[in-house]
C-alpha cells in the first residue's frame, strides 16, 4: 500500500473505499468523510502524514463552516435551537453565527422569503466571500412551502444557488445537523480547480 507511513488518504486507498461505500451510502459523487482508523494511527506514530492539497483544503473548509445570521421566520427559531445547548451545532464546526456576511461561509436561509426580502437575500449572498455555500432550510425556503401566493418567493433557488435543500416545517434540529453533515460531505468531494464552474 505504498511507502511505509503513508496515510490511508492516498488516492488508491480512497478509491477502494469509495467503491465499497458508495453502494451503502447512496450519495451521488460525495466522498465519505475521512476517518482515522488503525492504519492511520500507526502512520501517525511516524509523525508524517501525506495527503493532497485538495483534501486538506476541503477538510479545513468543511470543518469550520461559519453560518451567516440569516434567520427569517420560524425556521430561525429551530436554527437557534440547533445552536443552543441540546443539539449544539458548534460540534460540527459551526462555532459562531457571524452577523456580517463578509465573515461567513455558509448562508442557512431559514424561513420564508418574501418579495420584498429577495433583493436583500441576493445582496447578502453577494457580499459573502467565496467559497460560500447555501443551505435552504425548511419547506418555505426550498419551494415556497405552504404559501403558494403572491407574496412569497417559491424557492430561494430562484434567487441564489442552493447546495443543500432541507425539507420540514420547521425541520428538526437533528435534520439541520444532517443537512450540515451532507454539506460537509459535498465539500469533501468538491474539487479545488473546478469550484463553481
Amino acid at each position: 500500500m505504498g511507502l511505509n507511513g503513508d496515510l490511508a488518504l492516498t488516492p488508491s486507498a480512497v478509491l477502494g473505499q469509495r467503491e465499497s461505500l458508495a453502494t451503502s451510502l447512496g450519495d451521488a459523487g460525495a466522498l465519505p468523510l475521512p476517518r482515522v482508523g488503525e492504519r492511520e494511527r500507526a502512520a501517525l506514530q511516524s509523525g508524517i502524514l501525506t495527503t493532497t492539497v485538495e483534501k486538506l483544503v476541503n477538510w479545513g473548509r468543511y470543518s469550520s463552516l461559519w453560518p451567516a445570521l440569516y434567520g427569517l421566520a420560524c425556521c430561525a427559531i429551530e436554527m437557534m435551537g440547533t445552536g443552543a445547548a441540546r443539539f449544539d451545532m458548534a460540534r460540527f464546526g459551526c462555532e459562531v453565527f457571524r452577523a456580517s456576511p463578509r465573515q461567513a461561509d455558509v448562508m442557512i436561509v431559514s424561513g420564508r422569503v418574501s418579495q420584498k426580502m429577495a433583493p436583500v437575500l441576493r445582496q447578502i449572498y453577494d457580499q459573502m466571500p467565496e467559497p460560500k455555500w447555501v443551505i435552504s432550510m425548511g419547506a418555505c425556503a426550498s419551494s415556497g412551502g405552504m404559501f403558494n401566493n403572491y407574496a412569497i418567493i417559491q424557492g430561494v433557488d430562484k434567487v441564489v444557488p442552493v447546495d443543500v435543500f432541507l425539507p420540514g416545517c420547521p425541520p428538526r434540529p437533528e435534520a439541520l445537523l444532517d443537512a450540515v453533515v451532507k454539506l460537509q460531505q459535498k465539500i469533501a468531494g468538491s474539487h479545488l480547480t473546478s469550484w463553481r464552474g
Binding site: L72, A73, M80, G81, A84, A85, Q115, V120, I152, P170
Partner: protein, 428 residues
C-alpha cells in the same frame, strides 16, 4: 418621510448634558476641559439598521437619524416577512386555516390557533367541553412560557449576556418535548382546532407537565439571579425606553408592554375565554414603563403561567376533548362502518369542511405579545370570506419611534428587545 422633531439650537443640548454628567462622575472640574461640546451643525446621519441584523429580532429594517450616538428619529420599514396570510385564509376552509395560523406568531403558535378557533366556534355556536378548554389553557400557558423564554434569551443576548440564551433554550426544549408528545410536532403543532383539540393527551403528558411545574420556578429563580440584580443590566435598562400609559394607549399597545407602563389590562381577566375565569392568578403591572419594568412583568408572568398550569392540571376534568356537535365533529369511527350517513358526513367534513353561518365576529385572546384579535367575516360558505388578524406586534412596533427618540443607539437595541416583537406577527 415622517416628521422628525427639530434639532435643538446650537449650543447645549441633551448630548452635552450627558457629557456633563460623565464629567461629574469622573470628578473632572469644568475648567479642566479641553473640549467644549457645542453643536457644530444640525445635520443628522442616516443609518440603515438593515433587515439582516442580529438585534432586530427578525427582518425588521430601521432607518435611523443619528446625531452622534443619539437617535433623533427612527423610521421602521416593515413588510420583509409579508406572507399574505389573510389572502390564504380566503382560499382554504376553516380547518385548513389552522396550520396557517400557527405560522404567524411563530413563537407561541398555540395562541393563534386558539384565537381563530374561538372566533369560528362563536360563529358556529359550538361549545368545547370542559376538558378540552382546560387542556387548551394548559397548552397556551406552556406556549406563553416558551415565548417568554425566547424573549428572555434573545433580549439578554442583545445586551451582551450570552448565558441566559443557553439556559432559556434548555427550558424551552422541555416544553417542545411536551408539544411533540401531544401532537408530534415541536413548534407548529396545530393542536387547537375548531371544535376542540387534535386529540386527547397521552398518559405521559401528566408526568411531563408535573415536572415542568415543579422545576421551572427554580429555573426562573436562576434567571433572575443572573440578571435582575446585575448592576450592568440595571444601568442599561432602568429609565430607558419609557412609554407613558397615555402614549401606550394612544398607539394601541397591548400586552406586557402596556402593563409595564402601568395599565392593568389583561384579556384573560377582563374578557375571559376558554375557562380562564376559573383560575386564580395575578397580572403583574409595572410602574415606570421602562425596559426594566417590562422585563419584570414578563418574568412574573412566567411564574403566574405556572400557577395556572398547576391549577388546571389539578382540576382537569374527565370527558371528551372535542365538541360532539355534528356540524364540526367527525363521526365516531365505528359508526362510519355501519351508517352510510356517517360515512358521507365524514367525507364531506374532511374534503369540503363545515359551513359556517353568515356573520362577523371579533375574537381577541391574550397572546404573550398582547391582544391578538381575529375579525372573522363569514358568508355562509366553508371558507372565511375575510379574516383580519389584529396582530399585537404591529401596534407595539408603531410605538417604537416614540420610545426611541433621544435614546442612544445601544439603548435602542435594548428597547426593541423589550417590546418583544415577532415579525411574522407584524407582517403577516
Amino acid at each position: 418621510m415622517s416628521v422628525l422633531p427639530p434639532i435643538g439650537p446650537p449650543g447645549r443640548d441633551a448630548a452635552s448634558e450627558q457629557y456633563d454628567h460623565g464629567r461629574e462622575l469622573l470628578g473632572v472640574a469644568p475648567e479642566m476641559d479641553a473640549i467644549d461640546l457645542v453643536q457644530l451643525d444640525d445635520q443628522t446621519m442616516e443609518l440603515n439598521m438593515g433587515p439582516q441584523h442580529p438585534s432586530t429580532h427578525g427582518v425588521l429594517r430601521l432607518v435611523l437619524d443619528l446625531d452622534g450616538e443619539v437617535v433623533r428619529g427612527c423610521r421602521p420599514d416593515i413588510g420583509f416577512l409579508h406572507t399574505g396570510f389573510e389572502k390564504d385564509f380566503e382560499r382554504h376552509n376553516y380547518q385548513q386555516c389552522i396550520p396557517y395560523t400557527d405560522r404567524m406568531d411563530y413563537l407561541s403558535p398555540l395562541s393563534n390557533n386558539l384565537g381563530f378557533s374561538l372566533a369560528a366556534e362563536r360563529l358556529l355556536g359550538v361549545e368545547v367541553p370542559p376538558r378540552g378548554q382546560y387542556l387548551r389553557v394548559i397548552m397556551c400557558e406552556l406556549a406563553r412560557i416558551a415565548s417568554h423564554l425566547i424573549w428572555y434569551g434573545t433580549s439578554a443576548l442583545d445586551l451582551g449576556a450570552t448565558t441566559p440564551f443557553v439556559y432559556a433554550w434548555r427550558e424551552r426544549e422541555k416544553i417542545l418535548d411536551i408539544n411533540e408528545l401531544v401532537s408530534g410536532v415541536r413548534m407548529h403543532t396545530s393542536f387547537i382546532r375548531v371544535g376542540g383539540l387534535m386529540a386527547d393527551v397521552p398518559a405521559e403528558f401528566y408526568g411531563m407537565v408535573e415536572e415542568v411545574v415543579k422545576t421551572f420556578p427554580h429555573r426562573i429563580d436562576e434567571y433572575e439571579t443572573l440578571i435582575t440584580g446585575n448592576p450592568i443590566f440595571r444601568e442599561r435598562t432602568q429609565g430607558l425606553g419609557v412609554l407613558s400609559p397615555e402614549d401606550a394607549i394612544n398607539y394601541g399597545v397591548t400586552g406586557p408592554t402596556l402593563r409595564g407602563s402601568g395599565v392593568p389590562y389583561d384579556l384573560r381577566k377582563a374578557q375571559p375565554y376558554s375557562s380562564y375565569d376559573q383560575f386564580d392568578f395575578d397580572v403583574p403591572i409595572g410602574r415606570r414603563g421602562d425596559i426594566y419594568d417590562r422585563y419584570l412583568v414578563r418574568m412574573r408572568e412566567m411564574r403566574e403561567s405556572l400557577r395556572i398550569i398547576d391549577q388546571a392540571m389539578a382540576g382537569l376534568p374527565e370527558g371528551p376533548v372535542n365538541s360532539t356537535d355534528r356540524k364540526v365533529a367527525l363521526p365516531p369511527r365505528n359508526e362510519i362502518n355501519t351508517s352510510m350517513e356517517s360515512l358521507i358526513r365524514h367525507f364531506k367534513l374532511v374534503t369540503e369542511g363545515f359551513r359556517v353561518p353568515t356573520g362577523t365576529v371579533y375574537q381577541a385572546v391574550e397572546s404573550p405579545r398582547g391582544e391578538l384579535g381575529f375579525l372573522l367575516v363569514s358568508d355562509g360558505s366553508n371558507r372565511p370570506y375575510r379574516c383580519k388578524v389584529r396582530a399585537p406586534s404591529f401596534s407595539n412596533l408603531s410605538a417604537l419611534p416614540h420610545m426611541a427618540k433621544g435614546e442612544l443607539l445601544p439603548d435602542l437595541v435594548a428597547v426593541i428587545g423589550s417590546i418583544d416583537i415577532v415579525l411574522g406577527d407584524v407582517d403577516r
